[in-house]
């Protein structure tokens, strides 16, 4: 379509060009000329929609089969600005198409259906749809769809800016290129918008066209193959965006592009592995995003400690996975693999911690992580923190092993947590467990999560970590709780939650009782409930930093869960950065179905805000629109851990992930 745009990734340029070429559409006429692809197997609806869109002065292409639409998009990535798709289609599920598009082209997708059930709408959210329309679609609803295009571009810009200044250099050339073929008006806007973006985000908003002009990297098959080759060459653990970028050596590609793609890729791998229970790769091993509920930290830690038999871990994972999938199937955004690894480390700790906990040994999981945990917890936490801290660090290095650990951790976390935790159930104990585990885990998890989120570790400290004391939460989230034990419960919560999220499903039942002692697997509701709504929420929040205030009770748990989910997801759930979100979302779903998602979504948003403020700093990887697992700004609360984690997570480039639209790659869609 946009012949003018030489760069494939300069979709904005091409769009602006197209608009221009399309019919003298000047930037001012935006949104006229918006290129919409509408997919619906019902010819009547298709016809009506086409007419309506044309009435809105959009450039419409209609398609009655998802496969056709997908190939159309693949052939011409820059050919469309937005896609509207029906949910129920005979050849391919609308959500699947949504995932594909999000993964391959990263275009905004609006889902549409005669169904207005909450679940379906939620599904759209979690799969990354930017909007959901109920049939019969009114023309008024279509008049504003351009906002999604603008918003996306704007966010992408933000990611750009956040990710670093390096890209500016990249952008400059792009801008000039755009200048070549884009009209002066657009070009000017674009360039200026770009520059302004660098300086001030607000400017972008002023120029709606400029915001649209964000150059978009289109991950063509070849490009993706190059990417995968680079990743494999570096090794998934070491695959940092910077290095990948260097290896790929693609002009004009920015680190942010790579980072965000890497996140997606990890998610995808995770999902793949989750499905196949693939323990070998971290990428894969991290539980499917959906299952992400497993606090990766926990499992890993547990696995690391060797206490968790691989089998149990697998079981846990399976349980968690099963649950999670059942739940909402929210694909957790691919958590940075790194994060996962980080989690693993913490998990290890956790496992150890658990062991210790039973023995009343306090693992200093959290090294020096100051948590406001309750005295008991605190004590335990400190110890653990310290030990953990130490441990964490090394744990982090475990990253590579994490894949294996994770499963173990998970299992370990669970079984162990349960048994031990339960017995102890004492708050003190729990905190300890959590702390050692949680903290380190948290930090790790957080770190990992952080990658996705931003330094969840901070959350760990979450003051409200009451739940932690509750023991259940703490244990479960070795990662999250631990750090958070003090009060924030986040750390614990996060980790347990996260890890538990996945397992939660399964564990929840179990965990509830075990929550006290159980590992933080049950980040989701169970823990919270058990925890007395206390801290789980807190830690969730803490992780999330925002939303969950300690006060949250079980009810809030839901909400928290949502938040936490996102938080957890981020933090503990390192399982897959996306997992967290999914985990949380899952948790949410499990807990309160609808409440969950709403919260999640809100949570995500909140989380983002919270992150900034709270310790939870989970780096929010792109928060999918779907909500759970929104990316949180990179705020790493935990200095030590976080920095350590962050370093690892550097790849994650949380900033970019803010726009994670889809939770994960569709497994079959990733061209490798």
């Amino acid at each position: 379509m946009n012949s003018s745009s030489g760069k494939s990734y300069m979709s904005t340029a091409s769009s602006s060009v197209i608009w221009k070429a399309g019919g003298d559409v000047v930037a001012d006429q935006f949104p006229a000329g918006l290129r919409v692809l509408v997919v619906d197997d019902d010819p009547t609806c298709l016809m009506i929609l086409e007419k309506m869109l044309k009435a809105c002065q959009y450039n419409v292409t209609k398609c009655n089969r998802a496969e056709t639409a997908l190939s159309m998009l693949r052939e011409n990535r820059n050919g469309f600005d937005i896609i509207i798709s029906d949910v129920h289609m005979p050849d391919m599920d609308g959500f699947k198409l949504l995932e594909h598009i999000g993964l391959e082209m990263d275009l905004p997708v609006i889902m549409m259906s005669a169904d207005d059930g909450k679940n379906v709408v939620m599904k759209g959210v979690t799969h990354g749809a930017c909007d959901y329309l109920i049939k019969p679609v009114r023309i008024e609803a279509l008049k504003n769809i351009w906002q999604h295009v603008v918003r996306k571009r704007k966010n992408e810009w933000k990611d750009f800016e956040q990710s670093g200044s390096v890209e500016e250099g990249d952008r400059q050339p792009k801008q000039s290129e755009d200048a070549d073929y884009s009209s002066s008006a657009n070009e000017g806007n674009w360039k200026s918008s770009k520059r302004r973006k660098d300086d001030e985000d607000e400017n972008d908003e002023r120029d709606d066209t400029s915001t649209l002009k964000k150059p978009r990297v289109v991950w063509s098959v070849e490009l993706h193959q190059q990417f995968v080759a680079a990743v494999n060459q570096l090794g998934i653990e070491k695959a940092v965006p910077k290095k990948i970028l260097e290896l790929m050596n693609v002009p004009g590609l920015t680190r942010e592009n790579v980072a965000s793609h890497l996140q997606k890729y990890r998610l995808y791998l995770r999902r793949l592995s989750g499905v196949s229970q693939h323990p070998s790769n971290l990428n894969n091993s991290f539980m499917n995003p959906q299952d992400a509920t497993f606090g990766p930290l926990d499992l890993q830690a547990l696995a690391a400690t060797g206490q968790l038999p691989a089998q149990s871990l697998a079981t846990l994972q399976a349980a968690g996975l099963g649950r999670s999938t059942a739940k909402s199937g929210i694909p957790m955004p691919l958590v940075d693999q790194r994060n996962i690894f980080s989690f693993e480390n913490p998990k290890l700790r956790f496992g150890e911690a658990q062991q210790h906990v039973n023995n009343n040994k306090q693992m200093n999981l959290l090294h020096g992580i100051p948590t406001t945990m309750e005295p008991k917890q605190l004590a335990g936490l400190h110890h653990t923190a310290q030990s953990m801290g130490n441990m964490n660090m090394p744990v982090l290095s475990h990253g590579s092993q994490s894949s294996q650990n994770n499963p173990l951790l998970m299992q370990m976390a669970q079984p162990q947590a349960r048994g031990q935790m339960l017995n102890d159930s004492t708050v003190g104990l729990a905190p300890r467990l959590l702390s050692p585990m949680g903290q380190p885990m948290l930090s790790n998890g957080m770190a990992t999560n952080v990658s996705t989120r931003n330094g969840v570790p901070e959350n760990i400290r979450a003051p409200s970590y009451n739940p932690v004391s509750q023991t259940s939460s703490m244990l479960n989230f070795p990662m999250n709780h631990i750090s958070e034990l003090p009060g924030n419960s986040f750390p614990l919560v996060s980790t347990p939650g996260i890890s538990s999220l996945a397992p939660k499903v399964a564990f929840q039942e179990d965990v509830n009782s075990e929550i006290k002692g159980s590992v933080g697997f049950m980040p989701s509701y169970d823990i919270f409930n058990d925890l007395n709504q206390h801290k789980p929420q807190n830690w969730e929040l803490q992780n999330v930093g925002m939303m969950f205030n300690t006060s949250q009770h079980s009810n809030s748990l839901r909400g928290n869960l949502d938040h936490t989910q996102s938080v957890l997801v981020q933090q503990g759930f390192s399982t897959g950065q996306n997992r967290n979100s999914t985990v949380i979302s899952k948790a949410m779903f499990s807990a309160g179905d609808s409440t969950g998602h709403v919260n999640a979504q809100n949570g995500n948003q909140h989380l983002n805000s919270l992150f900034v403020d709270n310790t939870v700093r989970v780096k929010s990887e792109r928060v999918a629109d779907a909500a759970p697992a929104n990316l949180y700004p990179d705020h790493f609360g935990q200095e030590d851990l976080m920095s350590a984690l962050l370093k690892q997570q550097d790849v994650i480039a949380p900033a970019e992930n803010n726009d994670f639209d889809f939770d994960g790659y569709s497994i079959d869609n990733i061209p490798v």
Binding site: D41, C45, I48, A55, D86, A114, K135, V137
Partner: protein
């Protein structure tokens, strides 16, 4: 003039549809989409709708004959029918579709059968009303062109 008379007749028919709630405001939306460059848009849409929905209905009726009934498939078809009926503004048909889906969901075979019969009746009635309307409209516009 004759054309004026026909014109009034058409308007009256149309109004009656709304009064009887055979059509709802979505129909008006479609009418608004009609323009000089596509004066028969609504009719085209309806032709398409009637054609597709009869196919749906027949499939549903067939599906009811198998034992046990494939309720998932049926619900999927009903869902589609719901979407298209809602989009064209076929109000009563839409209501019947929803009712049928509900009954089907509850698993009551007899009531589902009855409901499908009702749906079919409503559809036939709808078709019987709208087709002459469009024919008249078409004839009138042709006449006016002369």
């Amino acid at each position: 003039m004759e054309s004026k008379h026909v014109h009034e007749q058409i308007a009256a028919m149309r109004q009656s549809f709304f009064n009887e709630e055979v059509l709802n405001e979505n129909f008006s939306q479609l009418e608004q989409l009609e323009g000089k460059d596509n004066p028969n848009f609504v009719e085209e849409v309806f032709t398409m709708y009637l054609r597709d929905s009869i196919a749906f209905l027949e499939t549903i009726e067939e599906a009811m004959k198998t034992i046990p009934i494939d309720s998932i498939k049926m619900d999927s078809i009903l869902h589609q029918l719901k979407g298209s009926s809602a989009s064209v503004g076929a109000n009563k048909v839409l209501k019947e579709v929803n009712k049928t889906r509900q009954v089907l969901g509850k698993g009551n075979l007899e009531r589902t059968k009855a409901s499908i019969l009702e749906l079919r009746k409503e559809y036939d009635s709808f078709k019987a009303k709208l087709e002459p309307y469009f024919q008249l409209k078409q004839a009138n516009s042709v006449a006016q062109e002369k």
